[in-house]
Symmetry: C2
DNA sequence: ATATGGGTTAGAGTAAACTCTAAGTCAAAT
DNA sequence: ATTTGACTTAGAGTTTACTCTAACCCATAT
């Protein structure tokens, strides 16, 4: 069981952000007798997953949608499946772009190194 | 040689965006006798590269910096090299996150499919 | 006693990257 | 003649995802 501050620390987000996610109904932690938010292990896992979705460019609106469907129960399973499959495709596209660009950069970096080397040889000779 | 509208079409950006990039000194196309922007093949290649950087999460400020260093001449080659190497690292981190999340999604998707299948079997039997 | 960390509402502010509007000009094509 | 696509300046507006402030309350730890 974690307080908001502990969760913030653990996940590297601010307490502001956690309250904002709650306002957006992305996570709904429990409360203790004082009204303080209490996050369980499963809340933490949920948040971690959400942050992975965010890191992989899923917009907050989609994450909200997923969370909403979740609260709506089992009959939304197909919708959630669809949403996750769409995101999987998106990730595959991103991977493609990143791999391509990675290759381009490797080439450019090699060229730059050669260029600098030749230039510096020239300087040494002069 | 391309007009701004042609470049916009080819690259899938708006003419607004191209003028904005020019204001930000990311691309500086030539002009014809009427003052219309004229983009050469190399301008196009430059833009394509910039868009790849953008797609791989390089902020516009960094792209501007790279463009600025370029205009400053050969003595900035080491700085440009450093910038590209940093971005290569960033891409490697993104790849890691995406691959991890891709795996997570594959698992979740499998679970969902099983869950839906079992549920529908139940319905058929009832 | 006071500092720390938690709570609230309501709303303002921020940064990034566009995106668009107004209001006018100019040239080529139909 | 008019539509189309180009140009200009200057600045306003939009979206996303926070981020923070005010102003006040409550409980635990030092």
């Amino acid at each position: 069981m974690y307080t908001i501050g502990e969760v913030a620390q653990l996940l590297g987000v601010s307490t502001h952000t956690l309250r904002y996610y709650e306002k957006e109904k992305i996570i709904l932690p429990d409360r203790n007798e004082h009204g303080d938010r209490i996050y369980s292990e499963s809340h933490l896992q949920w948040l971690k997953f959400d942050l992975k979705l965010k890191e992989t460019q899923m917009p907050i609106t989609k994450i909200k949608e997923y969370a909403y469907l979740y609260t709506e129960g089992e009959h939304t399973a197909i919708n959630r499946l669809k949403l996750l499959e769409d995101h999987k495709s998106s990730i595959e596209n991103q991977l493609k772009t990143l791999e391509e660009t990675h290759k381009m950069l490797e080439h450019k970096i090699t060229s730059y190194k050669e260029m600098i080397l030749k230039r510096d040889e020239g300087v040494t000779k002069a």
